[in-house]
Every structure is written in structure tokens, then in C-alpha cells.
Symmetry: D2
Subunit: 139 residues, 4 copies
């Protein structure tokens, strides 16, 4: 069972991670180790070519994995990213992005998982695939 | 010799990559395949722990490598990131970040390099090390 | 439908990739974009701690992704790895390893996918998770 | 000053990591956090195209970074790789490979560094660039 509710994650995103959290990200589902979020399209996210920038997608993925980790271990805000590897597979259009995260391993000190990002309306075509390691502080 | 001036890169950052470019990034030096930039500290870049967020550093690194690539091939705006791998080594404090990028390879279709980020005043202690691949469109 | 049979892949592994292919790897299933293989335990794969070495797992993953790519595009031997990112999640014991690969994207020039490795008998505990990009030559 | 001699590393490679260590790798220089090694060309390392296989280069890089870590912390055999990210930049010919490793950070629990591989005789053209994280056990 998840140890993090959508309302809790909304507040964390807005208050604790202002740069990414105030982009309007909507957490649509949070289960134990599984999170889905939507990033509404915003013109500030564009880069040349009329496509959403890489950093926008990496910020989205990082926050989704943060939610995945907290859904398993509870609200441990000092969990921090140690590695993030992003592969950009297609140029998304100027539409909302959907990110689905999944914990692959959650140990005592390290958590690891993957996030797949698609364009809204094209669920079978990944635009970005990200793997992320979080370090969990001693509790 | 560089094919990109600081003035040109300033304009590209501001006009074409608003999300990252309007964070106040200052390009301090651009030579052929070598770029140094400073990201002034801003409270919006924080994450829990009073430290600069990972996505802030990845956005900085991605833009510095973009400048590295353009310094070699000229202003080809549709060069796009295909892979970015970031390792977060230390938590930076609430200070300016310095990013130094270096092209390792620039072929006809792919460019690859690394960016090392340090906290201002601590040049020997990397806080983040990033490797990035850019895809170069046919010209 | 797969464009690569198990018999074809066995021969490619044995004849064309001797270092990895002659370790006794068994391709158990090859479908379009999906491959499962088994690496029998061998004492030469050990590293300190009585555990299988990282390079052994990366060689296994790389060959499984090669099979995934060929299952989609046919036998194009000059498809080559351009990026491999491996995360080691648990120390496997001295047992067979099972690798399951899945193509996430296969474009005209680049293919990308993931491989999950588990210890035989523990299918729910990933020991290694690998993402790999292959470059496909013009045909 | 290095805490690992060439003679000690030769023995570790040969006895403890047979799969990679018995490929004939020669450690040419070991200083504190800096290691250079040569991998003599061997026909078993080939893959289609007459070029050295990716796993051969990853095994070389992993062992060189292992030596970098031990040169700093002493002989702690249970240091283990947690992440390895390899970018393959050029196809090496059928010649010896030279690998140069450099520790970027060595903390109490994690060490991180990079390895650049070139073909013998072409020191300015990286064929492979690898970043590696090692986990250091409590002592």
C-alpha cells in the first residue's frame, strides 16, 4: 500500500521543489512503487523545433521517481538522486506529457526505477525513457 | 576556432530555450569545443535540504553541451540531445554553479562530451558530472 | 513476427562474437522485439565475493539486445552498440542468470531497449537492469 | 600516494577476476586515482566488422576503475560496481587498446570516475568513454 497520497505529493511538489513543482504537474495515480503524472504543455518548455526540451522531461521524470520512492518508504524528503540516465527517443509535439514511473528495486540505502514518458494520446510511442537511482538517508 | 560567440549563445539561450535560458545563465567563455558557464543561485532551484535540484544542474549541463556542439559545427539549432547521463556527487550549497563542458567527439551525425559542475569557490570538488550525446541533423 | 530464429542467433553468437558467444549462452525464446536467454553459471564469471562479475552481465545483456534488434530488422550484423548503461542492483549468487530483453524503440537508424537480469529461481528480484542503444547501418 | 602497486593489481586481476583478468591486460601505471592499462589484441575480442566487442571494452574499463578505487582506499576487494555507463564513439581496429582511468570522487561509501579508451597509436581519438560508480563496503 502506498505511503504517499496524491494530496501529500502535490504539496511536496509545490512547496519543496518550486522549479519543477510549479510547472503545473498533476499526479494522476500513486500506488506502492507506481506513479503516473501529467505535465500540461507550457510554452516555456519548448526548445528549437517546437518540441518540449530535454530538461523539462528530466525534471518530470525525476519528480515522478521521487514520488515512487516516497510511496514505498514514506515521506523522507532527503532522498536524493545520485544517477539519472535519460534516453530521448522521439521529439514530442507541443502537447501534454504523460510520465509513468515504476520502482525496480528499493533497498535500505538505494532505490532504482524507470520512468517512461509519452505524448498525450500516443501511449504506445515512448518519447523518453529514464532510469534513476535515489540514495536514501539513514533513518 | 569557435563558430559560436558568447553574444550569439546568450541570444539563443534567452530566445530559444526559455525554460533554462531565462534562469540567468552567463556564458563566461566559449572556445572550440570548450565552454564555461555560471548559473547564478536562485531560490527556485532549491530542493529539500537547501541544495540545488538535480533538474537545475541537468538543464545547465545540457545547455553547456549544446554550446560546445554549436561552437564546433556552427549554429545548427536542431541538434538535439539523445542521451544524458548525470551523476550527482555532492550536494551543492546555495551558491552559484560553474559548469565546464568539453567535446570528446564530434562526428558527422553524433557529438559527445562531458560537463563538470562545481560550486563557486570550490573548483576541485565536482558536485555533478554529466555525459551527453547530441544528434546532428543532416546539413 | 520475428526475423531471427533461435538457430540463427545460436550460430551468430558462436561464430561472430566468440568472447561472449562461447560462454554457453542459451537463447530460450525469440519473438519480435522480445528475447529471453540463460547464461549457465561458470567459475570464470566470478569476481571477489563469489558473485558473477559485472562484465559478464553486461556481455549477456548486450548480446540479448543484439538479438532483440535483429528479431525486428533481420540479420544486420553491423548493428553496433553506441550506449550501454548498466545498474547493478543485487549480487547474484553462483547460479545461472536469466536475461529478458525488450525493444522500446526501433527507428530507421537507432534502436533502444532494456534488459532485466535475474538469478535463476528468483524471477522477481532483478540483479541487473541495462538500457542499450544500437546504431543501425544504412541498408 | 597509491595504496596499490602494479604487482598487487596484476595478481588481483589474474586470481580474482579470471574472466577479464586472464585476457592479458597489462597495468602500465598506477598512481593515486590514476591508472593506465593496455589490453593486447586477441581474436576472441572481435565482433562482426573486425572490431573489438563492446563487452571487451567494458570489462577493461571496469577493471581499470577497480584499480583506481583500490589505489585510493587500499585493497578492499568487495568494492563493487553499481553503475556503468559506456559510450562507444568509434570502431577500434584489431589493435591493442589503451585505457586511462581517473577517479573524480572518492567518498566514504561511493567512488566515481571515468575511463577513456583509445586504440594504440591514436591517443587523441577516444573509441570509448565510460563512467563508473563503485560502492565501497563499510570498513
Amino acid at each position: 500500500m502506498t505511503k504517499l497520497t496524491i494530496a501529500e505529493m502535490d504539496r511536496i511538489a509545490r512547496e519543496d521543489v518550486p522549479g519543477v513543482g510549479q510547472t503545473g504537474i498533476v499526479f494522476e495515480a500513486i500506488e506502492d512503487g507506481l506513479v503516473r503524472a501529467r505535465l500540461p504543455f507550457h510554452v516555456d518548455s519548448l526548445r528549437p523545433g517546437g518540441t518540449v526540451s530535454g530538461p523539462t522531461m528530466m525534471g518530470l521524470a525525476d519528480l515522478v521517481m521521487y514520488a515512487c520512492v516516497l510511496s514505498r518508504i514514506g515521506i523522507v524528503k532527503m532522498a536524493v538522486t545520485t544517477n539519472l540516465n535519460a534516453n530521448f527517443l522521439r521529439l514530442p509535439g507541443a502537447v501534454d506529457l504523460i510520465a509513468e514511473g515504476r520502482l525496480i528495486k528499493c533497498g535500505r540505502r538505494l532505490a532504482y526505477g524507470e520512468v517512461t514518458i509519452t505524448s498525450d494520446g500516443e501511449p504506445d510511442e515512448a518519447v523518453c525513457h529514464v532510469t534513476i537511482t535515489y540514495s536514501i538517508p539513514p533513518r
